[in-house]
């Protein structure tokens, strides 16, 4: 592992983002550059995995090793990478549709396995890439291309969802406060275990009026300002109930005693097995009875 002094620009790739002008994801990208420069891991030691969606383009705009994967399957792919190369810093990004609709089933299992991954969800309550359909976090009644008379479904609450599966680090941020978001993302990356950041990233083209940057700036409230204790999971759960009603930023929950990660347990078990037996011995174990 090399730790060197790197500036935000060292993580900026030559590819120019093709998001709509004013997209919240620009702010997320800036925050990410800052967070990564704060961490100080060289770009080649970072694997950045995403699913499909506007926000999933983000790995390409960094100098990290990137992988724009299958819709909804970024987490399983990231787990594969982490098992193969536990020493890499593995980041996962995606949108609300990628993470909580088609990939919803994977989140719970990534959380409970507790790989050391950082999962950044750019939540804009809409499908932007396919031009404005209902998303799993769209509020009840939202009119979209596939719900022209208003959605009949209640939204997923990503914060409560991930908290209830026992994630050790759950936070929320918005690009309306880019430096604050950078700090949250950096803390998430530093947490040794599965860390989740729900980033309220406005969609300027298909998003709701009440989810734009200006509104975020006016309504956001830091969790510190409401006197929230980061280590209190129940209090975090209570605050998470306000998802969609109030925009809290900061760390909802951080496990003060992080349990061992999956990859650490795997290594422990490998060590416990002792010296690796010779190949002939392994073959003997299975072949003896048959002969």
């Amino acid at each position: 592992m090399t730790t060197v002094a790197l500036g935000p620009k060292d993580f900026k790739s030559e590819l120019k983002p093709i998001w709509c002008p004013g997209c919240g994801d620009f702010g997320v990208l800036q925050a990410l550059y800052r967070a990564l420069s704060g961490i100080g891991r060289a770009p080649h030691e970072i694997a950045f995995v995403s699913g499909i969606g506007c926000s999933s383009r983000i790995p390409g705009y960094t100098t990290a090793y990137g992988f724009n994967t299958v819709h909804g399957r970024a987490l399983p792919i990231a787990q594969g990478i982490k098992l193969a190369r536990p020493e890499l810093l593995v980041l996962v990004a995606g949108g609300d549709g990628d993470g909580f609709s088609i990939g919803g089933g994977h989140v719970a299992h990534a959380v409970r396995r507790n790989f050391d991954l950082t999962y950044l969800v750019m939540d804009n309550q809409i499908y932007g890439l396919t031009k404005g359909q209902l998303s799993p976090t769209s509020p009840h009644g939202l009119e979209t291309a596939t719900s022209p008379y208003g959605s009949l479904e209640d939204p997923v609450n990503p914060l409560a969802y991930v908290l209830s599966y026992g994630a050790g680090f759950v936070a929320q941020g918005t690009p309306a406060d880019m430096p604050g978001l950078a700090k949250i993302v950096e803390e998430a990356i530093r947490y040794p275990g599965f860390a989740f950041v729900n980033i309220q990233s406005p969609c300027v083209t298909y998003g709701q009026e009440v989810q734009q940057m200006k509104v975020h700036k006016a309504t956001m409230k830091t969790l510190a300002s409401v006197g929230h204790d980061q280590t209190d999971r129940i209090a975090a759960m209570r605050l998470a109930q306000d998802y969609g009603k109030a925009l809290y930023t900061g760390v909802f929950y951080r496990n003060p005693e992080p349990p061992p990660t999956f990859e650490a347990l795997v290594r422990e078990r490998q060590t416990a097995q002792g010296e690796r037996p010779a190949r002939e011995k392994i073959l003997d174990r299975y072949l003896q009875r048959a002969t």
């Binding site: 724009n68 909804g72 890439l129 031009k131 596939t146 719900s147 022209p148 008379y149």
Partner: protein, 488 residues
């Protein structure tokens, strides 16, 4: 002396013993040992009882996981004791662990038998032709066929069809549900189709991949349903430009098992409507999903579309699990645990596939009667091929076009008729795929026992379509475009 408290000792039924040795561990007197000899009937080694020390505690009988492995010995003079164990030569009818569907014979019922309620064709007033994009035309076709339930997941370039359905269906007593994924969408169709109602989905190649499992289940359970696959570039994420590289998947690879479905290939917005209507008719006629193979251009291309003279009010098939007294005895499922039953079911499906192959081949032929060169193409590339035929005719080459409308079953009867009439014609397959249409042609020729004519290929991939000039040049030069060897 009266026998009051003599506990029966265990007796072994060797043909039920699987040699698990649980009784060996259970016996406090070490009366049971592992045997050496294989049982000829079961092929496993049953335990051996040495009952000299046995006190009849019956712990071994309790430990035995088999219902008849260890049973209490019959006391002298008794006719039976404990469980009624069948002997090895038992009557199969007495065996309790039998497949329950055979256990009681055919169920008798006093419920009224369900009858087919046929659909009604209602006259549609004549209207001016419409200018519609392909996905809208397909949605309209489905509505006219009586489809009121649509399930889907957004994917370019097919989403507009679903969006139109979301707008229209609530006014028609139907509903569109945006599923959480294509996997969910196809299984919603399974449920809706099981109730006997026409339903469909709009998707594109990567989404279609995800639906294959559900399609296999629907074919197994013999359920109708229409899947509109607006093909895009692949493999993997690929791009959103038109391609035809799902032909193999749709004709030969509909999930696991012995599966086939009629694959309809439109080439105009009008056909997007007509074939979408036809798809529902065929799906219900054969109780099988029908796939519409469109491509990205057809999904997005607008054209003149005339409405048909009638629309359909769907009936209710007798097999539907409709949820009333009459349909109470119906069963929709794709599981057949008995191997012989499943083989019989596959024979039944094969008969259906053979029937479809005989009756449902469709193709458009154009200027083939005197053709020396036969272009074979479908979907959007067929439009370019048609232009190329005109250009070639102007250049003095007698070209004709065979446009398969059903990709499965491949219209080999039409092809055979033409090749019999024009035995020296050479064939040029024009496609936006690495030879998947050509493979279908070659396979169909082979199954029909026809010697393949000389076949030339014009193939583009990745969202690039074969161009009219390119086809003409290839035909005139007699040279392939992008046909690498060895992919067949």
């Amino acid at each position: 002396m009266a026998r009051l408290d003599l506990r029966p000792r265990p007796a072994l039924q060797p043909e039920y013993c699987k040699g698990c040795l649980r009784c060996v561990d259970a016996c406090p007197k070490d009366c049971i040992t592992q045997a050496g000899d294989l049982n000829a009937t079961t092929g496993v080694r049953p335990v051996v009882l040495h009952l000299d020390d046995c006190n009849g505690c019956q712990l071994c009988i309790q430990a035995c996981p088999e219902p008849y492995g260890l049973v209490p010995q019959k006391a002298p003079g008794e006719t039976a004791s404990g469980a009624k164990a069948p002997t090895a030569a038992h009557d199969p009818g007495e065996f309790e662990l039998e497949d329950p569907t055979h256990l009681f014979g055919a169920k008798t019922s006093t419920l009224p038998a369900p009858v087919d309620l046929p659909g009604l064709a209602l006259a549609l007033p004549t209207t001016e032709p419409l200018m519609l994009k392909g996905t809208y035309a397909a949605a309209l076709g489905a509505l006219l066929a009586g489809c009121r339930h649509v399930f889907g997941y957004p994917i370019t370039p097919s989403t507009e069809g679903a969006e139109l359905m979301a707008k229209v269906l609530p006014h028609l007593g139907g509903s569109f549900v945006q599923a959480v994924s294509e996997v969910a969408a196809i299984n919603m169709m399974y449920g809706c189709a099981g109730a006997g109602l026409p339903c469909m989905t709009f998707t594109s190649s990567p989404g279609f991949s995800l639906m294959l499992e559900g399609i296999s289940y629907m074919i197994g359970a013999e359920l109708p349903g229409v899947v509109m696959n607006v093909m895009r570039g692949g493999p993997g994420l690929g791009n959103i430009a038109p391609e035809q590289a799902d032909i193999k998947l749709m004709t030969r690879g509909l999930g696991h098992g012995n599966t086939h479905a009629i694959v309809l290939a439109p080439s105009t917005p009008q056909e997007m409507l007509d074939l979408s209507r036809l798809a529902f008719e065929l799906a219900f006629a054969y109780r099988n999903p029908v796939i519409i193979a469109a491509d990205g251009y057809l999904g997005q291309m607008a054209g003149v579309v005339r409405l048909p003279a009638t629309l359909t009010r769907p009936g209710l098939p007798a097999w539907a699990v409709w949820g009333d007294r009459a349909h109470r005895m119906n069963l929709v499922c794709s599981i057949q645990l008995s191997d012989t039953d499943l083989e019989a079911h596959n024979h039944h499906l094969n008969d259906k596939y053979a029937d479809i192959t005989k009756k449902e081949q469709r193709a458009e032929t154009w200027l083939c009667d005197d053709a020396e060169v036969l272009l074979v193409a479908c979907n959007t590339p067929a439009r370019m091929a048609k232009g190329a035929v005109m250009d070639l005719r102007e250049a003095g080459v007698a070209a004709g076009l065979v446009r398969p409308i059903t990709l499965w079953p491949f219209p080999i009867d039409e092809m055979r008729a033409i090749l019999t009439k024009r035995p020296r014609a050479r064939v040029v397959v024009v496609e936006a795929s690495p030879g998947q249409l050509e493979d279908e042609l070659r396979l169909a020729l082979s199954h029909a026992g026809l010697a393949p004519p000389p076949i030339q290929s014009v193939r583009r991939m990745g969202g690039v379509l074969p161009q009219r000039g390119e086809i003409v040049a290839a035909v005139l030069a007699g040279q392939d475009v992008a046909a690498s060897g060895g992919v067949a």
